[in-house]
Subunit: 189 residues, 2 copies
């Protein structure tokens, strides 16, 4: 039971009894995906909040011109979903693909709602989780409006070295919002 990384992750912010762990194990779904498999398809309903037990994922949007924008990467120990689609039960505006063979723990929307009622300290856990997600995302918005491409690239590889190992230059470019060609020329500097 305690082999799950997710328990360590949850216990960073709240404590869990053995029976609560038991309850969780019986509540979530575990999914194994292979490289390039999709966990969520843009346009489809988004019913799951995902925790990356192992492996890595990428969340991206494909626009009508065929341009891909990477919303986020999620490696081991990260939570990910189309948060707007999930929380407000609307169609996903992104797809989520596996970057490698991965093990994903899925929280169903209704399961999570009942979890909040049954074990209210999960409100606290996710309050802290979303608070941190908000801080990160606000930092990213700030970087986007205030920094040069070179500075944003440096920030990214400094802050997320474990992600950088798993992804291509092209994917970093689509996360920074520049073309792969331009990122290449920035790196040459």
């Amino acid at each position: 039971m305690n082999q799950y990384h997710i328990f360590k992750n949850i216990q960073k912010h709240i404590s869990l009894t053995e029976s609560e762990k038991e309850y969780l194990i019986n509540s979530w779904d575990i999914k194994e995906v292979g490289k390039k498999d999709l966990l969520l398809r843009q346009g489809h309903a988004c019913r799951k909040l995902c925790f990356v037990e192992s492996g890595s994922l990428r969340t991206f949007n494909l626009n009508e011109d065929g341009k891909e924008s990477t919303i986020m990467f999620a490696i081991q120990d990260w939570w990910v979903t189309d948060m707007n689609g999930f929380a407000n039960q609307k169609p996903a505006v992104v797809s989520i693909e596996a970057l490698e063979k991965s093990t994903i723990i899925e929280f169903d929307f209704l399961m999570l709602e009942s979890l909040y009622v049954k074990i209210p300290k999960f409100e606290r856990f996710f309050r802290i989780l979303f608070q941190n997600a908000y801080i990160r995302e606000q930092q990213r918005s700030f970087n986007n409006i205030a920094l040069t491409t070179e500075q944003r690239y440096s920030y990214f590889i400094d802050k997320y070295p474990a992600i950088v190992e798993k992804i291509t230059q092209k994917q970093i470019a689509s996360y920074l919002g520049v073309t792969p060609e331009f990122l290449s020329s920035v790196k040459k500097k």
Copy 2:
């Protein structure tokens, strides 16, 4: 007591008893500020989470070159602070200024921590609040990397008409991350 907008705001997500309202009123501070007054100074400690009871605020960063970047605007019914500075008790990287005469309700860091313990349903309230803030901020990051300046300008004035009324073109430019000159030329189209 029920004249406070903040109670309506909180009760969008959780219910409050009269005695809980009483408790809140005795816990927070109310501050009146005038146009251009600063509620928070960049570099200083950030001890307060602010709710805009009336009026409007702007959060911005000033970099070493003197360039201002607007992080967010907060009109009536919005919550605002330097979230990283507040949550992690680090120096603020932004200043918060009043755009007009405003009434602000302030939650002290320690008061809020004890509120979570005393009235746990506030974990739920802020869980939902941060979840929404995360969604908004993620949308903004996406807009920054995927849309043209013209599209981001349209998105902003469409989504936040009540904010647009209160701010200048220059401030919108600093929120979009472009120069006022360029925004002017985009509007001419």
